[in-house]
Symmetry: C2
Subunit: 325 residues, 2 copies
C-alpha cells in the first residue's frame, strides 16, 4: 500500500505530457486547426503541463502529405508559424518519431535550430537496435529523448528485459511503459514497473507511462504508475486518442497535488474545443468493442474498423475476435 | 503488491451482485418493462451472476406509486408475476431498503413467504442504530442481510470506526463500502478496506464494494477491493446507475477468473437491451460534471441537475461548485 504522504504531497520530478495532438491526431488524421493548436498551447501553459507533444515526425517518403494534416510531419517551420519560437519554454515541445517510419537523420535538426525539446522514439520490443540509433542521433543533436516501447502487454518478459538492458545502456533520458492495447490491470502494471525500475535505477533513467482506456483503466493505471515511482505521465484532453483513447488530462490534473497544476483551464479548453470536436463527428473513447480487444489483449485496429463502420453487433464482433481458425 | 495467483486464480467466496435495476432505476424512475426484467434475469443466470438486485422496498407513505415504476417498491406479487418464484435460486434476488424510507416491518415478509433472498439495508454513518433495527428485523425473518454504508468518502474515520463496531455486533452478513460520490482513489480505498477488514475479521463478516464512476475509477476500485479481500462486488450492465454510473458488469466479468462467469451473455444483453435504452434518451455515465463532484467529494445531485438541463457550461458549473459563500 502506498503512503498517505504520496497522495497528499507531491514529487517535483513528476511531469505531465500532453499527447492530445499526437495520439488524438490518429483520430482526425492530424487535421487540427491553427486556432486549436494555439489555444491548446496557451492552455497547457496555464494548466502547468510540462511537455506538449505536437504530433509525429513522419517520413514524407512513406506518407502522402496531401492525405494528412501537417502535425503528422511537424516541420519546424510549421511549428514556428503556429506556435512561435517558444523561447520562454513554459511548456516544452515534443514530437514522436516511429522506428522505420521517420527520416530522422534529415528531418530532425539540431535542437539549437529547432523549437523542439524532446524526441519520443517509439518502437516495438523487436526494434530496439534501430531505436538506439535514433536515440543516439537525437541525443547528439542536443534533445531530451524518451523511448516508448509499445504494445508491452503482448511482449514476453524475457524480451522486455533484454530490450531494457539495451535501452538502459543508451543515452536515453526516459523509458516509457506503453499499454497500447489497454490490456493491463493495475496489479500487472505494478509488476511491470518493478521490472522497468531495475533498469531505471541501475542506469539512472526516468520512467514514463502511456495508457489506453480499453478497460476503463487508463487513469487508474497512470496513478498506479506514479505511486510506484513513474515520473512522466501522458494524458490527453478529454482522453482524445486512438480507439478507446488515453488517460484524460482532467482526471490527472484533478489528482496531482503539485500546486503548479491547474484544473480550471483544462475544463475551459474541453468546454470550448473538445466538446465541439466530438460533436463534429470524431469518435474516440471507451466502448464495448475496445473493451473486448483490451480483454483479449489484441491490437485495437479491428475495433477501430468496427467503430468506423458504425457497427453495433457486439456479439458478432465477439465471435470474430475469438474465432479459433 | 498483490500475488500473481490472485489474478490468474480465483476465490470461491467472491460474489457478483447485479445492481442494474436498483441503481439504474434511479435513472429511469424504475420504469423497466417486464420483458427487460425477464431477459435481465435470464442473462444473469447465464452469466453466472450471484445476486440480482431488483430495486427498492420504498415506503408507499413517502413515495407516490403513480410517479415511479413498480421496481421502486418491489412488491412480492410483482416479483412473482414477472420473474416467478425463482425456486431454483440460480441467481439470488435482492432489494435495497433505505433507513427512514422503508416500512420494513410491514413491507418485508418472512423469507419463506417471499421470492427475495437478500435485504440490503442502506444508511449513512449517522443512521447506524436505525440500520441495526432493520438488520435484526430482516435477519429474524430469515434473510441474508447486508449493510451498505453510503457516502463513505465524506465521513470521518472515527465515525466510520464507531459505525463499524455497531454493525459488527449486529447479525448482518456483509458490510459494504459505498463510494457514493465516486471520490475515492484506489490507494485511499485500500486503506479504507483495512479499516473495514478489522471489523470483518473480528466479527466474521463479509465485505462488499459499491463504486461510482465519477473519476473513471469504478472498475479500478472494484478490482482494488477484490485484491484486498472484499468478496461481494456490485456491478451494473453498461454501468447504468445514478449520475456517472457504476462499475460495469462487462469490465468485471472480463476480469474475474472463476469459470462460472460468462462474458458473452453480458455483451449480448448490452447489444440488445442497454444500447437501445441509452438511445431512447436515458443519460448516465462519466462526464465532466460528474468528474468535478468526484474531485470535490460532493454529492452528485447538482451534476445530475446539470445533466438534465442539458447544460454544457462546465466552467460556470466549476465556479458554482467551488463558490465559497
Amino acid at each position: 500500500m502506498k503512503e498517505v504522504a504520496k497522495l497528499l504531497g507531491y514529487r517535483e520530478s513528476v511531469k505531465v505530457v500532453d499527447a492530445t495532438m499526437r495520439d488524438g491526431g490518429l483520430v482526425n488524421d492530424f487535421y487540427f486547426t491553427d486556432d486549436f493548436v494555439k489555444k491548446l498551447y496557451q492552455t497547457n501553459i496555464k494548466a502547468g503541463v510540462d511537455y506538449m507533444e505536437l504530433g509525429y515526425k513522419a517520413s514524407k517518403e512513406l506518407f502522402d502529405v496531401d492525405k494528412f494534416g501537417k502535425w503528422k510531419f511537424c516541420d519546424d517551420e510549421d511549428i514556428y508559424e503556429v506556435i512561435g519560437d517558444n523561447a520562454e519554454k513554459k511548456v516544452k515541445l515534443a514530437v514522436m518519431a516511429d522506428v522505420g517510419r521517420c527520416d530522422y537523420q534529415n528531418d530532425i535538426r539540431p535542437r539549437s535550430q529547432s523549437p523542439l525539446d524532446l524526441i519520443r522514439v517509439a518502437c516495438y520490443v523487436h526494434q530496439i537496435p534501430a531505436a538506439v540509433h535514433m536515440i543516439e542521433d537525437a541525443k547528439n543533436k542536443g534533445y531530451e529523448v524518451s523511448c516508448n516501447i509499445m504494445a508491452i502487454s503482448a511482449a514476453q518478459e524475457a524480451d522486455v528485459r533484454a530490450a531494457l538492458q539495451m535501452i538502459g545502456e543508451s543515452p536515453v533520458d526516459c523509458i516509457y511503459i506503453v499499454d497500447s492495447f489497454g490490456s493491463l490491470y493495475p496489479e500487472q502494471l505494478a509488476r511491470l514497473v518493478d521490472v522497468y525500475m531495475e533498469t531505471a535505477t541501475k542506469h539512472k533513467k526516468i520512467l514514463g507511462m502511456h495508457a489506453h482506456d480499453n478497460q476503463r483503466l487508463a487513469f487508474a493505471n497512470t496513478i498506479e504508475a506514479v505511486g510506484d515511482g513513474v515520473d512522466w505521465l501522458d494524458a490527453t484532453y478529454a482522453g482524445m486518442g486512438r480507439g478507446a483513447g488515453n488517460c484524460t488530462m482532467e482526471n490527472l490534473l484533478g489528482f496531482l497535488r503539485n500546486p503548479k497544476y491547474q484544473l480550471y483551464p483544462v475544463i475551459k479548453f474541453i468546454e470550448e474545443e473538445m466538446v465541439p470536436l466530438r460533436e463534429s463527428g470524431l469518435k474516440w473513447g471507451y466502448d464495448i468493442q475496445y473493451l473486448l480487444t483490451g480483454i483479449f489483449n489484441q491490437h485495437p485496429r479491428t475495433a477501430i474498423t468496427f467503430t468506423k463502420e458504425n457497427r453495433k453487433d457486439f456479439t458478432e464482433y465477439y465471435k470474430e475476435l475469438t474465432a479459433q481458425e
